[in-house]
């Protein structure tokens, strides 16, 4: 075959690519740091997080009751409050101070207070107040106690209205008098309001991105440290072109992470019975550009890494801010514009949003078109940046190598001259 021909170059390139690919896989398994972050963490971490959030909702939030009224209505209120799924009447106190002491001891998270004239007011036809005191160190317990108390108040209110009403003769009359406009509340997605179902999809996708960034960075750092001249790219006949290096390495990561993302997006939610409405085709069309974007993003960044441990210092802390940037916790519509635009740089922002749409809300490809498009755009952009960075590295390596050879040659020449003279 003609050694200058295009065909030869391509076949040589593919062979080199496969060589680099296999070498990268070997180093993934041999290097314990890379092994931890590329294989063990993506396998184990999702399980741990799922376990943490697996109970989804708070049940039986202990509440202190201060009933100074001691009447039928107050006791009915308390009974219903205790029977509610979210709250529990845990302690009965004689004064607010006593109840406050219980909050101090962290045994209750809120107080229900019935003043002594609670029922008198009702019989007098005046408005009666139940005071609810909540410990604001936890939003979920506050919502549970407040929501439950409100629901019971409105239930008892209805009963009182019926008893007062003079025009209601039949059951239907009563319904119409108390609720002329009926309504249905439909929690359309994440219908249990579960915390795990809300937060976990984001965490899962973020685990994919962060471990991939750490793994790529660590392996680049190791390559540099193992190299005699601290270069990222060794001098070898296999490392002769940018594309073969970039493709060879990315193939290795893609291969591992195709399996990991299948495990994380399909198996883990099923192990723990989280909502997963995902369809195969939307999932595939989202995850492929997402993985590619993350891989090339990581490879472009990995050139900055001089020492392997620095990767951890640079990547680990970003996990929490990146999770917030996806809009999973603080709603996107209230995020300041500058953070929204910074968030656009990271693949996780789009990956998480797309995954929420297809997994938690059963969205189709049309629903995540924007996300897919941007992820492909990122993948291409970061690919070219990676190539540019690698090209710089190769030239850098060659220059250094040449300098060293020239040095050796000059020294040899000098020595020869000395011998001659």
């Amino acid at each position: 075959m003609n050694k200058e021909g295009l065909l030869y170059k391509i076949s040589e390139g593919i062979q080199d690519m496969c060589y680099i690919w296999s070498k990268e896989i070997r180093s993934t398994i041999k290097d314990e740091g890379v092994l931890i972050f590329l294989i063990l963490v993506p396998l184990a971490y999702p399980l741990l997080y799922s376990w943490i959030y697996n109970n989804e909702v708070v049940r039986d939030v202990p509440t202190a009751i201060v009933d100074l009224s001691h009447t039928q209505t107050s006791r009915e209120f308390i009974r219903e409050f205790d029977a509610g799924p979210e709250t529990k009447a845990a302690y009965y106190c004689n004064s607010l101070d006593e109840a406050k002491d219980l909050i101090r001891k962290q045994v209750v998270h809120g107080i229900l207070y019935f003043p002594s004239d609670f029922e008198d007011n009702l019989y007098r036809g005046e408005q009666s107040k139940v005071s609810v005191y909540t410990d604001m160190s936890l939003m979920l317990t506050y919502k549970a106690i407040y929501g439950q108390a409100q629901a019971i108040a409105s239930h008892i209110n209805t009963k009182i209205q019926i008893s007062k009403s003079t025009t209601a003769f039949t059951n239907r009359d009563e319904e119409i008098t108390t609720k002329p406009l009926d309504f249905d509340e439909v929690p359309i997605f994440n219908s249990t309001g579960g915390y795990g179902n809300a937060i976990l999809p984001g965490v899962l996708i973020l685990i994919l991105q962060q471990t991939l960034l750490l793994g790529i960075g660590l392996s680049a750092g190791t390559a540099r440290e193992n190299n005699r001249y601290q270069e990222l790219i060794p001098i070898s006949k296999h490392y002769n072109g940018i594309f073969r290096i970039v493709f060879g390495k990315s193939m290795c990561y893609l291969m591992i992470y195709v399996v990991m993302s299948a495990y994380i997006t399909l198996c883990v939610p099923r192990f723990f019975h989280f909502t997963t409405l995902v369809q195969p085709w939307p999932l595939f069309s989202l995850m492929l550009p997402f993985l590619l974007a993350v891989i090339f993003f990581g490879m472009a960044l990995s050139c900055l890494v001089r020492y392997r441990e620095n990767v951890m210092l640079l990547v680990v802390f970003t996990s929490v801010p990146l999770l917030f940037m996806t809009g999973i916790s603080w709603p996107l519509s209230n995020m300041p514009g500058y953070w929204k635009s910074i968030a656009m740089i990271f693949p996780s922002t789009w990956g998480v949003r797309g995954f929420l749409s297809i997994s938690s809300m059963g969205g189709s490809i049309e629903d995540i078109q924007d996300e897919i498009m941007i992820l492909w755009f990122q993948a291409v952009l970061y690919f070219f940046i990676t190539c540019a960075v690698y090209r710089y590295q190769i030239n850098h390596t060659r220059k250094h190598a040449n300098e060293k050879i020239m040095n050796v040659r000059a020294k040899a020449k000098e020595a020869m001259n000395r011998i001659d003279s």
């Binding site: 209120f77 209110n157 406009l181 009926d182 994440n190 210092l313 300041p336």
Partner: protein
Amino acid sequence: MLKRIYHIALRECGIMWKNPIYGFCMVIFPIVIIFFFTSLMSAGVPTDLPCGVVDADNTTTTRAMIRKLDAFQTTKVVSHYQNVNEARNAIQKGDIYAFLYIPEGTTSKLMSGDQPKISFYYSNVTLVAGGNLYKDLKTISTLGSAAVGIKKLLAIGKTNQEISDFLQPIAIDLHQTGNPWSNYNVYLSTTMIPGLLMLFIFLITPYSIGTELKFKRSREWMAMADNNPWLAIAGKILPQTIVFLTIFYGFEFYIYYILGFPHPGGIIPILLIGLLAVLSCQGFGIFIFGLMPSLRMSMSVCSLWSVVSFSVCGATYPAFAMNPFIEGLAFLFPLRHYYMIYQMGILNGFPLTDCWFYIMTLCIFAMLPLFTVKNIKKAMLLYVYIP
């Protein structure tokens, strides 16, 4: 002895000055993080959340209802949809978080006393948005009923006071102690930011000890301390403690005194919690490095530990609602104790004696190096770094 510590500390300052990663991880990134969280949630409570409307009735009554919904602080009616399917698609796309559906004939049924039914749909996929919109949509739906009641009662000559007494015989009087605005900035920034600051301490401590081995300076370092590992570690950690403490106190000063986050507990718990947070994390970092004197292993462990602590600390999802095993495990994470001291001592202003257990545990974290410092000495003198 003090002189030796001083010299080692000076040497450490030189190392920190030369290696830019220290500057980034101890000063620049923490400041960025502090700014990120406090600015991200600076609104405190989410307002104008996008909400949709499917108004198949389209009468003055329903339009007035929608206007009223739009006027709520939390809700903003961004678009009208032709049918429920379209609105559902908009939720799936992420354009809106909830929508109100008013079927055709609602007004006429209302007039004829036929009890029409409207529905509202909300998505809990973003819990904060779903929860807030749910509150508003429920209020507007209840108000719809109330409006009819008010009309009727006015017609038979009731006064306003009587009407409100009839419509709501029992009212809930809510006291949100500590954070009366249910401000999310107060709620989340006070644990997320310290968690990240602690993450940096977690990582930098083993990094600074481990790099001695890596750059083959460990024997020189030990020699400066006369082979006494206690002096060596003390000298090394001291400058970092000072920098981290400055950052931590700066952060606390910023949120409590400039942004005015509630802190009825006063200055003493604020100062104490900062000191404990820094020392316990450094103690933990040294302990882990002593346990496995390899730079990469100790840093991996520390990073995995610190990332899990955000979930396990129980600031967002309460610890008592977790699996009992996880609840017990939470005690191994300094951030959990930090959060408990914060909410009891600072947010609620209870006496510090109430959180003695958590203070004591953080002190134990700070003393953990007692068990492994000998091991560090051995490692420094005998081990060779293998990349």
